[in-house]
Symmetry: C2
Subunit: 200 residues, 2 copies
Amino acid sequence: MIYENTDKPLYLASASPRRQELLKNIGISFRVIVPAGEDITFPFKSPRYYAEKKAEIKMQETLRSNPIDDGCIITADTIVERKNRILEKPRSVEDAVRLLKMLEGKWHTVFTAYCISMNRQKEVLKSISSQVKFKQLTMREIKNYVATGEPMDKAGAYAIQGYGLFMIEEIKGSYTNIVGLPLTHVINDLLKLKVIQVRK
Amino acid sequence: MIYENTDKPLYLASASPRRQELLKNIGISFRVIVPAGEDITFPFKSPRYYAEKKAEIKMQETLRSNPIDDGCIITADTIVERKNRILEKPRSVEDAVRLLKMLEGKWHTVFTAYCISMNRQKEVLKSISSQVKFKQLTMREIKNYVATGEPMDKAGAYAIQGYGLFMIEEIKGSYTNIVGLPLTHVINDLLKLKVIQVRK
């Protein structure tokens, strides 16, 4: 393994198995806690601001509902944006088809914002953007993809690390950011905060 | 599944489990055959030319050593290039460390060339390039990564879809091309050759 934990407890406030996998894969251990504040809505100026605010609200609400006094907590929020519109998780199969129709053959942006707290103090709030280009899709390709079930709980109705890979022509930026957590950025922050270290 | 085979037999002449996985993942079935011509060397003008020539030689040698008369065969070759030098698979642990030192903190290029034959006739020979940026690495991070064993059979001494992900800051271009097979391009060619079809 590449990294290891120090003596500071680490909590990942995210139910996403993809985010958990990214950290586990390189030797980082953590306890998963249920993030609060998922359903809080608010007005926003830009997609990037929305993602950051969302990650921050999740942190505030998670701290409020968890009596964790010391250690590090990570919250994150990933959104898909096209033409200044945010594409949420699909509400139905028809909605997933509609979202994928919007994305096919074109570039869009994925923002992942993450917030890190240490001992209940916010230490990091940042967001990373990546560009993704989908290939052109026939309606049958879209329907076959939706039929896999994969789009249903994903922002923008796709997962780059799953079956969705067949649509991804090109990307620009961090790959793990599109998966849901910009790994090199998060590692750097956790190293700085001495929550992890390079394995000795 | 997104695609399905037609009645034309498909053979993948590659021992790479990563390439096999990419095709299987979206519903494509094939028989794996051992590629011939892996160790043939020749002078070359450019990294891209080298990869294409290599994929072509693998096809010629694979056809020569296999009595496959009808159906489709795919061969592929992936190389890592930096400053017009080709980074091969490492010959030793020390060599892997040396290669990763060359790549850390910088951009490099990955070329995957692939060749497709139908009924012993070459139909496609092309190559796709992607850019990859590694984060800066300490010697201990490099040694920990080499200790996973992952770099040893990989061109450029890393795998983007494995532990190697912790080093990948950014990419530009096809992600699957870096894994070892530019999926959207190969799908398009196999659709055109009617070796696969969108699942009905």
